[in-house]
Structures are given as structure tokens and as C-alpha cells.
Symmetry: C2
Subunit: 219 residues, 2 copies
């Protein structure tokens, strides 16, 4: 059984591996977890001893098959929890991450399979991220960043890349949530700011920074 701390390292490696196919550096993992490099190195040796990470001095870190699966199963619990908190407990999508960060470590298969059942076996979490299945398999749909769309495109918000309280509260303030349809009115060439319209919002201006963090489905 992995400890809470070990699980958090596995998750971090899993996330960072998405952008770094050839492995994750100690530096990057250290920054991500806000844990000093020497501590990370020693934990990597420990996880290597448990066959969860392939570790070789000075080489990029890679999760093993086993480590990948265990990481995905923690992420599964995290995302199921977030979905449960939003759907069944009516907490805001900006509140649930921090709670899920803790509940994901609860040791109780029945608890999570009951959540799954009550939710009707959801495929995505409240932020649009896919929930890995019981075998740790996860498939990302091919979404586009809003920042990459063109004028007059009509799109549906499918997922948010950043799940920080601040970003989600920003979106709440503009009534932007998953499933919302919007049309791109104009794009400012100078700074890539996009003006969109949706529902009662006939002209909402979104910065490039924001648009890069919104994944959409095109029609």
C-alpha cells in the first residue's frame, strides 16, 4: 500500500509525463511539488525500489507500467470525488479540488465504487477532465483551445486546463461553465484578446491567457 505522500509523487509524475514523453526531470518534479530536489531524489529511489518508477542517476524519471496504473487510479479517485462533490453535494467546481486532494487518499474501495455507482459511472470530472477507468485507462478527447479558434466559430466549453480557485471563480463571475456555447465575435491581433458572446453576455472580452486555458468543442 502506497502512502499518501507516495501517491502524490506518483500523480505529479503522471501529470508531468503527459507533456514530457521522454521523462520528467528531478527539477521539474521538485518545482511542481514544491519539495527540494534532494528529497525528490531520495523518494525516487524509494519508488524505484517499489518498481513504480524507473530511476537511473542523472536520467529523466519515468513511471513504470505499474506506477502509471497506480497513479491513474489515484487520479480516478480524485476526479470521481470532485464529480461527487459537485453533483451530489452541490459544492462549487472551484471548491472541490482541495477536498479531493485529501479524499483521494482514503483507503476504501467500496466508498469509491459507491460514488461511481451513484454518479452513474461518469466519464469526466467537473472540469472536463477524463476519469480513468478501473484499470487506469484514460482517454482525452481531442479538444481545441479557445485561443486557437477563429472569428465566427461557435464552440462549446468542454474543459478547463487550469483548475485553480482563482481561475474558476473568474469564470463563475462571467457565467462561464462546462457545456456553455459561445460564438467568437472578434480577435484582437495585437494581444490575441478574444471577444465572445453567449446567453445574455453579448460581448465579453477574454484575455489570451484565459483563452489558452479553455478547451472547446467546435461545431
Amino acid at each position: 500500500m502506497n502512502s499518501q505522500v507516495e501517491e502524490n509523487y506518483l500523480k505529479a509524475l503522471f501529470y508531468l509525463s503527459i507533456d514530457n514523453e521522454d521523462g520528467v526531470s528531478v527539477k521539474v518534479l521538485s518545482k511542481h511539488l514544491d519539495i527540494k530536489m534532494p528529497t525528490v531524489t531520495s523518494m525516487m529511489k524509494k519508488l524505484a525500489a517499489k518498481h513504480l518508477v524507473n530511476y537511473e542517476s542523472y536520467k529523466p524519471l519515468k513511471l513504470t507500467e505499474k506506477g502509471t496504473k497506480e497513479a491513474a487510479l489515484v487520479i480516478r479517485k480524485h476526479r470521481l470525488t470532485e464529480m461527487y462533490l459537485v453533483e451530489k453535494m452541490h459544492l462549487g467546481w472551484e471548491q472541490v479540488h482541495d477536498i479531493a486532494e485529501q479524499i483521494e487518499h482514503i483507503k476504501s474501495p467500496e466508498f469509491f465504487s459507491k460514488m461511481d455507482e451513484l454518479l452513474g459511472y461518469p466519464k469526466i470530472d467537473p472540469h472536463g477532465s477524463p476519469i480513468p477507468d478501473k484499470n487506469g485507462k484514460m482517454v482525452w478527447k481531442a479538444y481545441n483551445k479557445l485561443s486557437e479558434c477563429k472569428v465566427n466559430d461557435t464552440v462549446k466549453i468542454a474543459a478547463v486546463i487550469n483548475t485553480s480557485d482563482e481561475f474558476l471563480t473568474f469564470l463563475n463571475g462571467r457565467d462561464i461553465s462546462l457545456g456553455l456555447e459561445m460564438t467568437i465575435q472578434s480577435i484582437e491581433q495585437f494581444d490575441n484578446t478574444i471577444v465572445v458572446s453567449y446567453n445574455k453576455h453579448s460581448s465579453e472580452t477574454l484575455s489570451h491567457r484565459v483563452c489558452e486555458r479553455l478547451l472547446v468543442e467546435k461545431y
Copy 2:
């Protein structure tokens, strides 16, 4: 903020203090937590430094006012969780204790107040134990042990003293649950075994050991 381990010590002291008005011995606390006496001693010194326990060498242990309140608030979270798991997630009353033992340590006031709200501010948990209020105040109703009742008494099951999986599964097997009304048919003088009737069970024999762990309301 108290650690998970500290919270478990506080809870244990709180429970053991109920029967031991004059304080809890290191021995008893050690046995209860299955942690060796020297470890308990050092934790008591630590909790004393935090003003949660009154500790004096060789004297019985007592929670301070502050310690009592913090313990009660952890118990509140434990019992709210158990109630939530039974009422909203449809888990069995024999399954919820182990999960609540973990969830009680989650740091998130909103999570627990939402639970409380969704449950309609319950006063008791699924085992009939009172849920402390937000100030840590808890009142036990004056129930009787089934073992202390007389022939022909009609009683309602109000609480179970033992909340182990085994005991509750034993009760499940006999369709005994909170709120059940039963009538005492006879009491065997030799071993205090009690024969009761209820619903479709016209003659169920319960050992003294079992009857001592069932709290009832008399009619």
C-alpha cells in the same frame, strides 16, 4: 492545527474519559490505541504543551477544556460522516466506521457543514450515538441496556454500544436495526440469555453479551 495522529489520541481520551471521571491511565489509553506506553507518554507531553491535556507524571490523564472541545469536534465529523455514508450513500452501518475513521481528519469546514446541511442537521449517527454540535456539546439520552430489561417489556432499539463490523453484521443477520421494537418473551436465569420477539421473528434468542451492547428505550 492538530495532526491526524494527535486527533486520534484526543478522541481516544475523550471516549475513555466517559467511564473514568477521574482521568485515564496511560496503560488504558495505550491498550485502547494499541500503541506502547512510552509512545503514549511522549505524546501526552506534546499534547500538554499544546494545552490539550493536563499531564503530570504518574497521575491520570485528563483532557483540558480545549482538548475536550477539539476531541468532540473530531467525533462530530466522524459521526456526521457515518450518517452521511448511510443516509446518502447507502452504505451499511457495519461498513461506515472504518471510512469515517479516515474522513474525520479531512481539513475542510465547508465539506462537513455541507454534509450537516444535506442531512438536515442530524442529532444522532447510524449507531444511535449523539452527534456533538458545532461547539462540541454532546448529550447522551438516558437509555437502558436490553440486558437490564424485564420479561414482557416492550422496547425500541435506540443505540448500539459496540460498532464493530462483526457485531453489526450479527445484528443484520437477525434484522435488528435502530428503531426496531421488540418484546421480551423470557429471560434465562442461568446465563441471562434473553428471548425476544419482533416483526417476523417470533422467538429470537440473544446472549447476555449481545444484550449488554444494545441500548433501548422503554415504553
